[in-house]
């Protein structure tokens, strides 16, 4: 069957992969140089890969920050092996405290609480804004969306390039802030004022400038995605024929477009607070360490929280929707049957996107909120769980009766389902004020949102990488090591995050560099509600699970790079998929399609009765060859 799906000459090594150039006429006649081809490229596929590689690097870095923090939690103020010395040479004795033995000689360096705080703030910032969003939205969106809708490129290729460069610059600003005196931002990824304006480091100003750049990048990207999906759909690609991944990206882009600007406004205001010493978020009579400051006052700390969470909550759906989109594509492809409830999925994603704008204050029940407004936000929070559950249910029901094909992308997609389920369901108690007051700012919350984002979203992203790798390179990633990567990641992810639920329910607060030692039964025997030894012991176990999780990523990293040149060679449509992205040459040339594809059917026509092949691609030419008398 492979032959019939190849509309275009398959990609041959050495033959011009840029055959699409002919159609571009005046644009480029000569082969572009290295800088033009890889750094200043306007091709959506190159930009997608740029985003992907940079985002993966940032995620690895963010993971490393977390490992340092877990060491500090498990062994507070104990010398950190290997890493301690390196940290000391970078950040100095102020931040990496020397640890001395009985005779006074320095035996190593430990993390200071300040360094812990800055790693904590930057871990969150990097993972969310420099890792997951660029990978899920920008990388996959850029590479896949134009191919899926049959478009030659994004609508505004140069704005697309500008978007990546703004993102990269924002990342550089964030990284540079580690090296300035006082270190990077220390007020948490949420940067609550007045804390953010009173910590004596310029890291916060760097953070804000970095954020403004990242937000600008996201806005440019969002405009581009929406315009592309609305304007550049190929003939016949009606809204209800769009693969659901495109819908997910479409809703995500709208969330970014309309939810990010208020945070940009808030960022500008906080930047004014930090640099021009205004008092937007500083109340009258603010005292720091018992001393009343020079600020004029009159501002409102809660204003920052409102503006921050107006983005912050929709951001959750920015993190999860693209991953859900990937999972749907992978599940449909590997169950070899149409996805269950396509229309429900579409309306649910729209509903989630819409409702995500009016739930934000459920992050703020602890701020002295009145009963009426709390009731409103509890109601919207409960309502938004309905479309989310519909999406998850459709995913599960899609498995029903399918002849499931197990491969690495499918394993990650299947892993996503229960992991996201745990993350989502444990969120319900946090959406209700009465239970949230107890669980707020404990490890329970950490466990909850990491289940959503780490084994949830990131598993979805891994599925996407394994799934579309053959389209990007013409080769498959190694299946055996892929499975090793999956099973190890699954086990260790759960070993890392599951114990945190227990710790949180026992009352262990987050953001403590000593992991709660000062609240432990061992430190204050006889006091009520102290943390028992069994809960404290979990800190040590989590550290080892986290290290193991890090080691489990090594097969992936090696597999990723090794497969580029040594993976198993495959044709243009190795997964026998129906969507148009698999109907292009591999890798797709500049301009993507030799001729404009014509779409004649929905995206998931698998195992159509009466067809010889168990998949029927969306575009017309194939249908003519594949079957007569269809529908």
């Amino acid at each position: 069957m492979e032959k019939t799906v190849q509309q275009f000459p398959p990609f041959r090594e050495g033959s011009a992969p840029h055959q699409g150039h002919d159609d571009h006429g005046h644009q480029e006649h000569h082969e572009p140089g290295f800088w033009q081809k890889y750094i200043f490229s306007t091709d959506h596929k190159v930009i997608g890969i740029q985003y992907g590689l940079v985002a993966l690097s940032f995620m690895l870095f963010g993971f490393f920050l977390m490992l340092c923090m877990r060491w500090s939690i498990a062994h507070p103020m104990k010398a950190m092996p290997f890493i301690g010395g390196i940290l000391h040479s970078i950040v100095g004795s102020q931040m990496a405290s020397p640890v001395k033995d009985a005779s006074g000689t320095i035996i190593g360096y430990a993390m200071s609480p300040e360094l812990y705080n800055s790693f904590g703030a930057m871990h969150g910032t990097i993972m969310v804004f420099l890792g997951v969003v660029p990978l899920a939205f920008a990388a996959f969106g850029n590479y896949v969306v134009p191919l899926m809708i049959g478009a030659p490129d994004m609508t505004f290729p140069r704005i697309n390039m500008a978007s990546f460069h703004a993102f990269f610059l924002g990342g550089v600003v964030m990284l540079v802030s580690f090296f300035i005196p006082g270190g990077a931002a220390q007020a948490g990824w949420t940067s609550y004022s007045p804390l953010a304006s009173t910590i004596p480091t310029n890291g916060q100003a760097f953070w804000l400038v970095g954020m403004v750049l990242l937000i600008t990048s996201s806005l440019l990207g969002a405009v581009n995605f929406i315009a592309t999906i609305i304007q550049l759909r190929a003939p016949g690609m009606t809204w209800m024929r769009l693969p659901w991944f495109v819908w997910a990206q479409f809703v995500t882009a709208f969330i970014l477009l309309l939810a990010f600007p208020p945070l940009e406004a808030a960022g500008v205001l906080q930047l004014m607070d930090n640099v021009a010493h205004t008092s937007f978020f500083l109340p009258t009579g603010l005292a720091v360490s018992g001393v009343v400051g020079q600020a004029s006052g009159g501002g409102s700390p809660l204003l920052w929280q409102h503006l921050f969470w107006f983005l912050g909550h929709p951001e959750v759906y920015v993190l999860i929707l693209p991953a859900m989109g990937i999972v749907i594509e992978v599940i449909a492809n590997n169950t070899r049957k149409p996805i269950f409830g396509y229309k429900s999925l579409v309306y649910s994603s729209l509903g989630v996107g819409f409702l995500s704008f009016i739930v934000w204050a459920h992050h703020m029940y602890m701020t002295g909120m009145g009963q009426k407004i709390a009731t409103f936000f509890q109601a919207t929070t409960m309502i938004i769980s309905i479309p989310s559950v519909i999406i998850l249910t459709c995913m599960f029901l899609s498995l029903w009766g399918g002849s499931i094909r197990i491969n690495t992308p499918m394993l990650f997609a299947l892993g996503f389902l229960p992991m996201f389920g745990i993350g989502g369901l444990t969120g319900l108690p946090l959406g209700l004020a009465a239970t949230d007051l107890y669980l707020h700012d404990t490890y329970y919350i950490i466990a909850h949102f990491h289940y959503v984002v780490a084994p949830g979203t990131i598993f979805g992203l891994f599925a996407g990488i394994y799934f579309w790798f053959p389209k990007m390179t013409g080769r498959k990633m190694n299946e055996f090591w892929g499975r090793v990567h999956f099973w190890c990641s699954l086990v260790f992810m759960n070993l890392v995050f599951m114990p945190m639920f227990a710790q949180g329910i026992k009352g262990m607060i987050r953001r403590m560099s000593d992991g709660g030692v000062n609240y432990s039964a061992a430190r204050v025997p006889g006091a009520i509600d102290t943390l028992p030894g069994s809960v404290m012991e979990l800190n040590g176990w989590i550290l080892w699970a986290a290290i193991a999780l890090g080691i489990a990523q090594i097969p992936f990293i090696i597999n990723l790079f090794w497969s580029i040149s040594h993976g198993e060679k495959v044709g243009t449509n190795p997964w026998s998929a129906t969507t148009v992205d698999w109907q292009t040459p591999t890798p797709p040339p500049h301009g993507n399609f030799a001729t404009e594809p014509h779409i004649v059917r929905g995206p998931y026509e698998y195992s159509v009765p009466g067809h010889t092949a168990d998949f029927t691609p969306q575009s017309e030419t194939v249908a003519a060859k594949n079957s007569t008398g269809h529908h």
Partner: protein, 108 residues
């Protein structure tokens, strides 16, 4: 007006532009007059409300005629409707949240 559905006649167009300019100038003058008037006798609230009302009409004229919003496509209306809705949500819910305090809390 936005595309070449109606061919542009430059003279007519100039006249229309000048009318809009005149309207904007008049409304600006009205806002200033309100601001310095004794409406509300010492209280700013009625004045602010009136001025913002005039400013909204002014904005409508600019958006409607200068930005051709009155003859724009449905898609643009849809996008702007969502935007305005979310803006009202942002401002409205935030103000509500700031003023709704738990029962029994001291007024600040």
């Amino acid at each position: 007006m936005s595309e070449s559905e109606h061919p542009v006649v430059f003279k007519d167009y100039t006249r229309r532009c000048l009318l809009v300019l005149l309207a904007v100038a008049c409304m600006t003058a009205m806002m200033i007059a309100t601001s310095f008037s004794s409406i509300g006798s010492g209280s700013w609230t009625p004045k602010v409300a009136l001025i913002l009302l005039i400013a909204s009409v002014n904005a409508f004229v600019i958006a409607g005629f200068l930005m051709h919003l009155l003859s724009e496509k449905k898609l643009v209306y849809t996008i702007l409707a969502f935007t305005v809705f979310f803006f009202i949500g942002l401002a409205g819910l935030t103000i509500w949240a700031m003023n709704d305090l738990p029962v029994g809390s001291a007024k600040h």
